[in-house]
Symmetry: C2
Subunit: 313 residues, 2 copies
């Protein structure tokens, strides 16, 4: 199956209790694509500016990421984010955002990506996510992510999007914000009623909760004592999860989009793989740790996660 | 094996977003003993006052709880607690505590309990827990619980106790308070270094994290959308866990206390059973829900917890 990711490519400056980095590779699409690249070639749609380091591009290209969908803007710089983690990582401050024209960027799906079957719409203005979705005419599974800003400011547009996607990644606090339910199980059920058949609630260090058709999962996070920078954990999780799904689903057996089923065992493994990849992401800044590991390291961590849950294999 | 529990028997008045109850059965020892009673006879040491309803006593006696160790004070009332859960259960307020002499109560272990092998010291003044421990000369496994008040006010006494027990139940926030570590894995490791070979970190709706000798577990809570009253969830969890251990460990194979080992499979099942029992506790006030269920209901929920963690079959 063909995997497409649309989202933000950014340059980040990050300060955490463990240290800091200036102008490193960041953005939701970066983390997602690199994580998914462990499992499957990833088609990427995004935008970079004239200060985007060639090195960053090569990191992706060497990792099965198809860069042809990335637009380079020679007239402006790349999207820039500066942030700081405070109080032992309990709080995150955005210190600076430089859009550099990114807010006017409207991703378009090139013809050679038109046959993409699994699509990930990273967090963005819901109308922009919607426009991309409408161009993915052969998609079989469309998953999206969203964040608090869009729930706050573009709620009705977000609800329209939710009615048209197959799965939503969302963190537990945002799920409560979106639904008004204080109980996360009720929140997930409410979101499911808004459209997406799969709701993947991300709970950070507490793991995830997944609702699907005839599926309910609660998988703990890997209990890390090597937390350096949590940036990108959620998108890496989504990348590992959907990458693993993409690798293990057979497009031949997929029917109409609304009827696509995912085998329980495949989904369970996918969630564990997402969890494992994300657990590596946080062990360093940017995608630095992901660049050091291979598929075997991920499999080892999946086995550790199995062991944590008491599987006696 | 013989199980002993020492702790508080109380009368509670509770207000939650779901409703309220006046003067219902409460206290750490009540929840622990009732939960453990599903698995094994439980010897109970505690104190009641002259307003303690006979009904409450009978509820325990009908559930394999040995009441002979409970002291009835004819000159004073029972320990009373009034509390309120706020903000969708995110915060708990203690509105009123009436000690009625409970603060002067010093539990003593009667001769007929002297051969107790598994001992649970519910949260109490650490020196009182210590005094009980010293009377349990034939104990093979001593687990304790503690709460923020004792960490704050009797830290050195608590540290002395920790050096002498085999396992500690503690919630994640209190573990951070006790150790100064903001990462819960590091906090658990620090506590282990203080003495207890098993550290069971309770994370409420996020389940638990367990460190033991050659053991690390992360088991999610049952994702309940029927939360009524979380009071007693932690003690029920401990009761289900230790009750199941007691049922499934063979005292014949136990050697010296410091060398007692617990089979991994037995421990894993025990943690799931604790999780299952606690998930029922919160579905009503007091022990009301526990009084409606039987062992088969617990086994069903353990199977659901297995399924949540992706066990197939």
């Amino acid at each position: 199956m063909n995997m497409l990711c649309v989202g933000t490519l950014a340059i980040d400056s990050v300060e955490t209790p463990a240290g800091n980095r200036e102008r490193v590779l960041g953005g939701s699409a970066s983390y997602f694509a690199y994580a998914a690249g462990f499992y499957t070639p990833v088609r990427l749609i995004g935008r970079t500016g004239n200060d985007w380091p060639e090195d960053y591009t090569r990191s992706f290209q060497n990792h099965r990421v198809d860069w042809r969908g990335v637009t380079s803007d020679s007239q402006a710089k790349s999207y820039f984010w500066r942030g700081r983690y405070l109080q032992d990582y309990q709080d995150r401050q955005t210190l600076e955002i430089q859009m550099h024209g990114f807010d006017r960027y409207r991703p378009s799906v090139p013809d050679f990506y038109a046959d993409s079957e699994i699509v990930f719409l990273a967090a963005a203005i819901p109308t922009v996510q919607h426009q991309v979705l409408e161009q993915c005419t052969r998609a079989k599974l469309v998953f999206a992510d969203t964040v608090d800003m869009w729930i706050d400011t573009t709620r009705s547009e977000l609800l329209e999007l939710l009615a048209k996607i197959d799965g939503l990644f969302i963190n537990d606090i945002e799920a409560k914000q979106l639904t008004g339910k204080s109980n996360y199980v009720q929140a997930a059920r409410s979101i499911q009623a808004m459209g997406p058949r799969w709701v993947i609630l991300k709970k950070g260090e507490h793991g995830c909760f997944v609702l699907g058709p005839d599926l309910m999962l609660a998988i703990p996070a890997y209990p890390s004592d090597r937390l350096i920078d949590p940036t990108g954990a959620g998108d890496s999780f989504a990348g590992g999860l959907l990458g693993h799904l993409c690798e293990n689903m057979d497009s031949e057996v997929l029917g109409e989009r609304s009827a696509v089923a995912i085998d329980r065992r495949v989904f369970v493994q996918a969630v564990k793989h997402g969890t494992a990849v994300a657990s590596y992401t946080i062990e360093s800044f940017s995608i630095e740790r992901l660049q050091q590991i291979n598929r075997e390291d991920i499999e080892k961590r999946v086995a550790q996660i199995d062991s944590l849950m008491g599987h006696c294999g």
